[in-house]
């Protein structure tokens, strides 16, 4: 407890994705991966995770960088730092909401070190889970937050575990219908980001469907939303490093003055990034006026079941939805 010392381990610099996958296969659950290593290091220093082999992905050049694709989309290597995402011309040209979200993550130092892949694959920020409580997510059989301090926890779509997804990058990417590219022992697979995230009902100990011996290598953003109107906002307790109480990303396409297509995704509400489908469908086909926006934002979380200390998130989600619809540009 609180040793602040990583137990002895073998550090392996992976030279390629195949090499990393092979090493993970070889060592099984004794191995863990790091990239920016802004988070895993804390789990290890606290000795809550004690991998014997640490596979360092940082040296894999093929997983780094941002390029525009031939069809007008953008392909982001998972190892690309958040700072590089913020500064990327390709991102800012048609998909600035990603840069807006990435620019509000953590601190300048962490954005220089942390990667976009790490941001979307990050683990729960539940303070019980992270403090070593034997909760559902940690393999136990209770949720301490439900009876304890749950202000920052989910208000909807949870099952036993009420953790809320903390990622800023995920909501922007999901609003743009991004896909993830994953390499594993059986080759390459890809899936929409919306399928990548896993809620507790499906598997309570993970946040996404990345298998142990798989590597998230790229994020691909299709051209679909290029140049659309975007909105990003993150509500936090303080200006310095803070995870969202609730954040929101919106992409809106209009045709003839009316909304032709819209995607609104929010974190801090559910164990996975939450699409606010009610609001999306309510505003589609409508002009964005104050009254239409207010009406569309009326019931964004129809199945919400908040705790007493996070009920405020319901109104906050509605307010942010309205702001997103009215403020997108």
């Amino acid at each position: 407890m609180q040793q602040d010392m990583i137990p002895p381990l073998t550090h392996v610099d992976a030279t390629s994705v195949d090499d990393a996958v092979a090493t993970l296969q070889e060592h099984g659950t004794d191995a863990a991966t790091i990239a920016g290593n802004t988070d895993e290091i804390n789990w290890m220093k606290n000795r809550m995770r004690t991998p014997e082999v640490l596979v360092d992905l940082k040296g894999i050049d093929e997983m780094r960088g941002i390029e525009s694709t031939s069809d007008g989309g953008v392909r982001i290597g998972a190892l690309t730092t958040l700072s590089n995402v913020v500064d990327s011309d390709a991102v800012n040209a048609g998909f600035s909401v990603i840069a807006d979200a990435a620019g509000e993550i953590a601190t300048p130092q962490i954005r220089n070190q942390g990667t976009i892949g790490g941001n979307i694959t990050q683990d729960s920020r539940c303070w019980y889970y992270r403090n070593g409580f034997d909760c559902y997510r940690a393999g136990g059989n209770t949720c301490y937050a439900i009876t304890g301090e749950s202000r920052d926890h989910a208000v909807t779509d949870y099952s036993r575990c009420i953790t809320a997804h903390p990622s800023d990058g995920a909501v922007a990417l999901m609003a743009l219908e991004a896909e993830v590219v994953i390499e594993g022992p059986r080759g390459t697979r890809r899936e929409p980001l919306s399928d990548f995230f896993v809620g507790p009902e499906e598997n309570i100990t993970v946040m996404n469907d990345l298998a142990h011996e798989e590597i998230l290598t790229h994020i691909e953003v299709p051209s679909t939303w290029s140049g659309a109107s975007f909105y990003y906002e993150k509500v936090t307790d303080r200006e310095s490093w803070d995870f969202p109480i609730v954040n929101i990303a919106a992409a809106i396409q209009t045709s003839g003055g009316s909304v032709s297509d819209v995607r609104i995704v929010s974190n801090g509400l559910a164990p996975t990034p939450k699409r606010l489908r009610n609001a999306e469908s309510a505003i589609t086909g409508q002009q964005i006026t104050e009254s239409n926006a207010a009406s569309a934002a009326g019931t964004v979380l129809p199945n919400a079941a908040p705790q007493p200390d996070n009920r405020f998130k319901l109104g906050l989600a509605e307010n942010l939805t309205e702001r997103a619809l009215l403020g997108a540009e």
Partner: protein, 820 residues
């Protein structure tokens, strides 16, 4: 302002430790490397309250890398404070055993090889809960410290009496914000007839406000290197904000005479009160080193700061104010519950300091103040920057605004009307504003002026006009608040040496916390001796070169240590005149000390300081401390005389000692702050749009440091009001937000976005060295209170709990309580 008479006081200068800090040359406790050193780690309790049944160290002893193991049975017990290791750990994370091994990896492995059998005990983390009948006691021998509060000068840094009892409020109704029909209080102050005061009042308001606990969060976690040598002498490299008190405190903790302990502490990365004296992280490596006589280091970790460090006390206050139609406070009645955590009696000091602050800032005509401190199974509540005073600044500002509203006067006018403001230029103990149950006169008080100058800086009338107006989703509000702190003490020592090369050395004894007030002490000596600044050296960082003084806390170094050393400088000047008269003829009184010379006023004959110091060496006796005058022999602390050892006989040596004759009242510094906030009623986000934080600190000695203190204090205070807190899970007693990113103190991005104006009244204090008082603490409480007051002004609802996070704002709006 009377600073214009000074040559050095009031001018900026390069601080003596600045270059080392910015180049990285500065060594903090963990930076020291030792030959043959071992590394220590501790075995900690995983429970909020437990008892050690047994500790099996046999497996760890088998490890070849392990060189020493100690348990709670090997170290002295502590009746109420933190024992070095505790057999009944009363908080999560408190250590019960420690190891020293070849390196930190081995030490961590050894800790995991030690097996502890625990008896888990009941815990309580909420201070109000601790008073409920049937609630468990946080300590096996009670729930309430009942000893006398330590004086404000000690601020719980020691002093006080260790007494523990069980007090339950058996007849109280705990269903409201504050228990109705409360039971016994352990601190009771009153004067005047408060019921008559309420009878005279035209309006009476009442509310309950709770100031939340927070950890101190110094940037440097507490690390220590210790070498207990085989000859019984101990050397320790520590992180402290006090040389003298830490030195004597650690000597006591180790059971060695102070003469056998040398403390090295050149640089400290902050303490905010939590490193005022010795602490267990110093004792662990020392006792391990005692076993093997090799240097042992313990590296303090950030996590440990949250569990094994200290925090600000919770203060739950039920405040009732009576005012007349002019806004004059005719009666003030406050009941409070304060939290000591598990390992101190400082809740008593929290209460007395909080009440002093409120009395100083609001000068009520009658008052009744009652309070009780309780223990909880949470980390030690120990002084944190305005401990009690800044909670007070936060809890009372909104209730004072309610009183202003009831009386129909502007809140700022009410606060100025009641503020401590002396009526005469000279100190007059009869008419001076008063404080405390003893009604001590304040040596100087200009809070009203501070408020007025702050109001001018931010154009208060304009902010008042904008108050309540809405721009999009943002509503504006303006708030006002003050805080104060006792900031000057007597009974301490100074030591000034004039070397034969003409250098003036100030062997002052404050720590080097980072506030630079130790350098201001030397600056004041330069002023007194009128010696070129380039010729002045200030020594710091070693106990064997430090005169005895109070710690670098309680906003007091500038006054306390300044006065003792200015007195030493006055003695040095007198010696120089006597020596010049002896050497050049005439009377001592005919000579002036100025410009680094000792010159005859008429003939112009002179000695340089170097020449005069050589005459001192040639003359000996009292001039070189080879003979110490009776007054100093009787009154100086032996450590001060020991600190002169290196210069006795080879330099002019002058001592200073402050006594009761040097002080005629209660030295108090004030801050008055005005803040404008915007509240986004859709997101709950509060932004401080502007703040002016103006202080009454006497003469300003070093403007750069002065303004830095106000800026830092104000930003920290804003964080206290808006984002920072310490959260324990009630069921398990385990603290949850033990990382900086979860605990949320304000950081650089919060700081840079706040337009902040700082300033000072600058009126000299009649007893302060060159008229100086202190500055460190009041800006914090004034800022916190002003922000709370401004948020209330914006959305028309009183916040009973802090921080005012977006969630708390939205809850007030959702419930319909807010007026938007």
């Amino acid at each position: 302002m009377s600073n214009h008479d000074f040559q050095y006081v009031g001018q900026d200068f390069e601080v003596p430790d600045g270059r080392a800090k910015v180049t990285g040359e500065a060594k903090y406790a963990d930076d020291y490397l030792f030959d043959n050193a071992l590394q220590a780690k501790t075995v900690k309790s995983p429970y909020a309250h437990a008892r050690v049944r047994s500790i099996d160290t046999s497996a760890a002893e088998q490890l070849s890398s392990v060189k020493a193991i100690i348990t709670h049975e090997d170290v002295p017990d502590s009746p109420i404070g933190q024992p070095i290791l505790d057999g009944e750990p009363k908080t999560f994370g408190y250590p019960v055993a420690a190891v020293a091994a070849d390196d930190e990896y081995a030490a961590a492995a050894a800790v995991e090889a030690i097996d502890v059998e625990w008896e888990v005990l009941d815990h309580v983390v909420d201070p109000v809960e601790a008073l409920k009948p049937g609630a468990p006691n946080p300590r096996s021998n009670g729930n309430v410290p009942t000893g006398e509060a330590a004086g404000e000068s000690a601020e719980g840094q020691g002093g006080g009496t260790a007494a523990i009892d069980t007090v339950k409020w058996t007849d109280a109704d705990f269903s409201g914000r504050y228990p109705e029909n409360p039971g016994e209080y352990t601190l009771k102050w009153s004067w005047g007839d408060v019921s008559q005061g309420f009878d005279r009042a035209d309006h009476i308001v009442e509310d309950v406000v709770t100031a939340q606990p927070i950890p101190t969060n110094p940037m440097e976690p507490r690390s220590t290197g210790a070498h207990w040598q085989s000859n019984g002498k101990v050397k320790a490299w520590v992180s402290s904000q006090s040389m003298s008190l830490t030195h004597t405190g650690l000597a006591g903790m180790l059971g060695v005479s102070p003469q056998n302990l040398t403390l090295i502490n050149n640089f400290t990365g902050g303490g905010f009160g939590s490193k005022g004296t010795s602490y267990p992280q110093m004792g662990v490596p020392a006792y391990l080193s005692k076993q093997i006589n090799r240097p042992v280091k313990i590296r303090g970790t950030r996590k440990e700061e949250f569990h094994w460090g200290n925090g600000r006390s919770t203060l739950v206050s039920k405040i009732r104010i009576g005012v007349d139609d002019d806004g004059r406070i005719t009666a003030l009645d406050i009941e409070s519950i304060a939290d000591s955590g598990a390992y101190s009696n400082s809740a008593m000091s929290t209460l007395s300091s909080a009440y002093n602050c409120i009395l100083q800032c609001y000068q009520p005509e009658t008052a009744r103040l009652r309070g009780i401190g309780v223990f909880t199974n949470t980390p030690k509540r120990w002084p944190m920057r305005g401990p009690g005073q800044n909670q007070a600044g936060l809890v009372i500002s909104q209730v004072a605004d309610m009183a202003a509203e009831a009386a129909g006067v502007d809140p700022l006018d009410l606060k100025i009307t009641n503020a401590a403001q002396q009526e005469t230029d000279e100190f007059d103990p009869e008419t001076a504003p008063k404080t405390g149950n003893e009604r001590a006169p304040l040596t100087s008080a200009h809070l009203g002026t501070a408020y007025e100058q702050a109001a001018e800086a931010v154009n208060y009338d304009e902010l008042r006009q904008r108050s309540g107006t809405r721009e999009g989703s943002k509503v504006y509000g303006v708030g006002t608040a003050s805080a104060s702190h006792q900031s000057g003490y007597i009974g301490f020592d100074g030591l000034v040496a004039v070397h034969t090369d003409g250098t003036v050395e100030v062997r002052q004894g404050a720590g080097n916390l980072g506030t630079e007030s130790f350098a201001a002490v030397a600056r004041m000596v330069a002023e007194t001796l009128d010696v070129p600044w380039e010729q002045v050296e200030v020594s710091w960082g070693r106990s064997d070169k430090s005169s005895f003084t109070l710690g670098q806390f309680s906003s007091n170094t500038t006054f306390t240590e300044g006065l003792a050393n200015v007195k030493a400088a006055e003695t040095a000047a007198q010696y120089l005149r006597e020596l010049a008269a002896e050497e050049l003829g005439g009377t001592a009184e005919a000579y002036d000390v100025s410009g680094g010379m000792v010159s005859h006023g008429e003939s112009g004959e002179s000695l340089t300081l170097a020449e005069a110091a050589q005459v001192a060496v040639d003359t000996g006796g009292k001039y070189t401390a080879e003979e110490i005058p009776d007054f100093y022999q009787e009154n100086l602390v032996p450590l001060t005389i020991a600190a002169a050892q290196g210069v006795m006989g080879n330099s002019l040596v002058a001592f200073g000692k402050t006594t009761g004759e040097d002080l005629g009242g209660f030295v108090t510094s004030f801050a008055g702050a005005i803040a404008e906030v915007s509240v986004d009623v859709e997101t709950g986000k509060v932004r401080v749009e502007e703040m002016a934080n103006w202080n009454d600190s006497g003469t300003i000695v070093h403007p750069d440091s002065y303004h830095a203190q106000i800026e830092g204090g104000a930003i920290q205070g804003i964080g206290y009001a808006l984002s920072e807190h310490y959260l324990h899970d009630e069921d398990t007693g385990i603290p949850l937000n033990t990382d900086l990113y979860k605990n949320k103190p304000p950081s650089i991005q919060d700081y840079s976005e706040t337009p902040l104006q700082t300033g000072g009244v600058g009126e000299p204090d009649p007893f302060g060295p060159h008229g100086a008082k202190g500055v460190g603490e009041p800006p914090y409480g004034a800022a916190a209170g002003a922000v709370a007051s401004a948020v209330r002004d914006a959305i028309g609802v009183t916040f009973h709990e802090f921080p005012i996070s977006p969630s708390k704002v939205l809850e007030k709006i959702d419930s319909g309580e807010a007026d938007i």
